[in-house]
Symmetry: D2
Subunit: 342 residues, 4 copies
């Protein structure tokens, strides 16, 4: 084991998934586990599925308890990461699973989060053009949001190659774990089972500016994004259905070739064989994103679909993938590529 | 009881739901129940939830067994309805839950179904402008598809009032019962639970031409439709997320007013209070469609969402609603408006 | 409409289900709706599936707001019903969906609820020997718990006929709505989907003494009960698997005959044809209990299984059924017998 | 990599899970994958979640294609294993995930399977007294059934220590994957979601004689078993609720101590802290069995509950665990102990 890791927010879903992955990581040893209200509890009482860590006791989330590790994973409510990161020093790799450092535009942050902008860290989606290089050896990483992970991976080849107009519509079905572990009436099993519902409609979801930022960067020009998240009855998984008008002259073959070329060497993002469409079950617990794309000739639109596990590739797996790059480890270390299915 | 009804395809999901509704219908008495391969079985062996009909025995689906009723509901595989309807005579109201008579364009039929076009019957979506009048006293009714029911109800006020460009994107999450009762590997519980998956992507779904027909008629001009269905883990329900660019000058207030005005008198379609978004669970077992709409200023798009129960308003409830009109009964007879929730 | 009803606790699951049933009741008109913390809200914001009541405003739960109706349904946290009932007067039929008046034994109450015993009201399970007569014209009714409804209906024919030893084991799978609408971490959709878990094991569940009381009364002798509830991922439904040693000489035919005879005239409890086992989906939204029974010769045991909808026959449907008897209405008024399936 | 493995029945659920585990096994390399009707297909078309094996092509299941590996996992319909095993020779470790070689009693086999008895192999439940030793170096292993795995692990400490009477009742809730991938109407998602149903009631399930065999062996005397499986809406997981009368003098402390002692050194079976009850979600994808036990003083019964993943510890994980012992590898090689949750 070359490295040690601390996890802040170890009692939540993101923190628990970071731990699950670290338990299988050959190069990273688990150190301090911290929490807010749950500090003092056995991890076994809160994350009973992490059997080997059952007797670890959660400490308070403070810079002191987190200090002294090679990498610190933060899985905290937004607004909390800056103060901690500041005190951890530049020698520590800090990987923030939250939103605080994702956006480059302070106005966009202010508009969607209503608080001062903490700053901008290297964005942890290595598959984006140029991103992998920026993440190698980075000391700070902002892990992408789960929806932007899925939607960006589905659309970037088309936008990067200029195959579609910069006016995209994304409708993404998500499991409930993305909403976290804090109990709210609309997240009760009784409410979510048997039901699908849209929320954050009309541009209100906080992942909106992150989509705009990602896709505009890839396209090299402003991209208009209409994003609607839909809550569906499953614990995990995001299926992002993304569409944009094809540019004149864009053929289905050109689209396929662009996706093939841009995803060919990716260890975690796979273009499925023609005619096979991704299902979230194909990614459960894996750091994999599965992508398929088609051109609807009658509608003049490209339709790209991506499936991920929101807690793995969409959060904790993305975090570990970036941490691997930051620490100089093989990018794929400790990251499952096969899903648990059915 | 003024009228008698026969149900062909009584062993399937659509036929079963027609029966459930007819059991509560004050003016229609249930007569012959027919099936294909299940003829000869007790209904209780196939539809055990319909306790009062448990001892009814299914007859063969033939024009003879169906004849002599005031109304015949056909819930058959496509291509089967024309021959039966022909022999039932014009005095019988025939309500076809299948696709055979939905499309006006024989070419579109041929392209999507690959068989000769059977014809075109009055379209059973009374909420569309002019439709209710055409259905009153009709002897033939083509029940809309489940997806087109949801998407059309979500979009028609905006298109009819010219508030949006005729270029719409519809992504609709659906429960599994829309795929019917014939066992297929990808519909196994083990496969669908915990998974969301898109299918019929890129304009391939057979409901595509029905969407185009409905929305173009409402808009009074050709409407381009991009439609993607998404299978999600619930037995029933469709949540259609629909978006189109707002026309210059369209305000959020104008949009709201258009929806309010066009839906105000509808007994089964309701615009929810601002800020409340429909969930399919709010419609389970009810003939209700719940609609909400917003304008995304940044994206320049209207987003409308509709929730229905695919088997009730999306199939059997729509069928009974149209049958009521055809028979001269109150449109709402026998149709539940409250859902079973949670 | 001959009668008026008030519903206390109209924002919860039990209260909502009472309202759903009353909306379809031909003889009872809905009057005051009351709540605790939700008083002042539109019902539409809390029970959006009850479309016709969307604009009703919840009043405070007090004897004053509930007074003046023919029947008052109480769906309150335990310990609250006595004070209200006292002030409603003897002319009002009070139907308590809670536990307060179910138990005859004050010690059992004290042991399981830790508070003073409020008293004992006629027990609202009309199917039990003698119960129907006691409920006709009653002014007070204690609605049975959902688990005891299922388990008692499954076992009483065998115990009443002395076919089994008075030593029963009941393991009942339940949907999540039985746990109510108050958000708790272990009831989140993320937690319950994909998971089955036992709770209240070892005799700790509060329905234990109710089981003992019911089954002992039926058997005419003390019955030992081992009861384990199991939470499974569905919103509604209880499947009770009940077993007891058969007495020497008991044949499978005698068992079948006892069940047939004792259930033959019941409008809501049905013995399924041999070889068909009940599923909770066959009862969703219906006031039906479906029962099947077998004798395991090798194990020397009778196994009886009952399926109900915990909110309908298990709570609100049972409440309305008893209210019908109390008010002198046909027992079946307003009570659905067909389920919403699939 | 010291060893090579072939998997027969690689297109089914059990075979797929064996492959998922072997992909993470440090000492076993995957060789031939075979199937029946699916021979010739890419594995990616059938097991899309096993991304690294997507391009492997399934061969015919024959002794020839399976020969030449160190270990062969058979995941075949029952009745098929004997002929293949015979031809593989004694140097090959053959691990049969099916039922063919589980039972010692030819009559029991004949009664429950209706075909000639193939024989008896060492039983792959290393946690049973003496079993681990028999499995070390074995060349043939019969993997236990999923229900017997759960129920036996829950009960054996109590029976082995003579704390309970030899008369047990087991009611086990199971996910749907145990029923396999062959499409049948009652296994459709539309049917299983929202529903719980018992089957094989009254001693009819084929796992019955396996339970009797296991528990009698542990108790050292015939044990009477009443077993009822209950299908619940989740893809994976078994929760076995098991109860038996406590013997005179058995205290709760003695029970706890027996479980603690007998499970203390087990790498995959864990007694949870008092008051915590197992949930199947705590075991998803892990080779873990979680156990809890209580004594119901009023009922005079011990209640033990075990949760497993039916495809992991209940089938494929158990198979790999036994293969590890047979091959002389560490028992825990390649077996996940943390679950994917939520």
């Amino acid at each position: 084991m070359g490295f040690t890791a601390a996890v802040a927010g170890a009692s939540g879903y993101a923190g628990g998934e970071v731990l699950r992955l670290l338990l299988g990581h050959p190069e990273i040893e688990i150190g301090a586990l911290t929490a807010g209200g749950n500090a003092g509890s056995r991890l076994g009482a809160l994350q009973p599925h992490l059997v080997p860590l059952a007797d670890h006791v959660l400490q308070e989330t403070t810079a002191d308890t987190l200090a002294g590790h090679d990498v610190v994973f933060l899985a905290l409510p937004h607004g909390r990461s800056a103060a901690i990161a500041e005190r951890l020093g530049e020698s520590t790799v800090v990987v923030d699973c939250g939103a605080d450092f994702r956006l480059a535009d302070p106005d966009a942050w202010q508009r969607f989060y209503g608080s001062p902008h903490a700053g901008t860290w290297p964005y942890g989606l290595p598959e984006l053009p140029g991103a992998r290089e920026r993440l190698r050896g980075a000391r700070r990483v902002a892990v992408p949001g789960c929806y932007p992970t899925a939607g960006t991976l589905a659309l970037f080849p088309a936008l990067a190659d200029g195959l579609v107009e910069p006016d995209v519509v994304i409708v993404a079905a998500s499991g409930t774990s993305g909403a976290g572990k804090a109990p709210k009436p609309h997240l009760l099993g009784s409410e979510v089972m048997g039901s699908a519902t849209a929320y954050g409609v009309g541009g209100a979801h906080r992942h909106n500016p992150e989509f705009t930022q990602n896709l505009s960067a890839v396209a090299g020009a402003p991209v208009t994004v209409s994003f609607t998240p839909v809550l569906v009855p499953m614990p995990r998984g995001i299926l992002a259905t993304c569409t944009a008008p094809v540019r004149p002259g864009t053929t289905a073959a050109a689209v396929r070739e662009a996706y093939r070329r841009r995803l060919a060497d990716e260890p975690f993002v796979h273009l499925l064989p023609e005619g096979t469409w991704p299902a979230t079950s194909m990614t459960l617990g894996a750091n994999t994103a599965l992508v398929q794309v088609a051109v609807d000739e009658a509608a003049g639109r490209l339709v790209a679909v991506a499936a991920i596990d929101n807690l793995t590739k969409g959060t904790a797996g993305g975090a570990v993938q970036s941490a691997n790059l930051a620490l100089g480890l093989p990018e794929t270390s400790g990251l499952p590529v096969s899903a648990v299915a059915p």
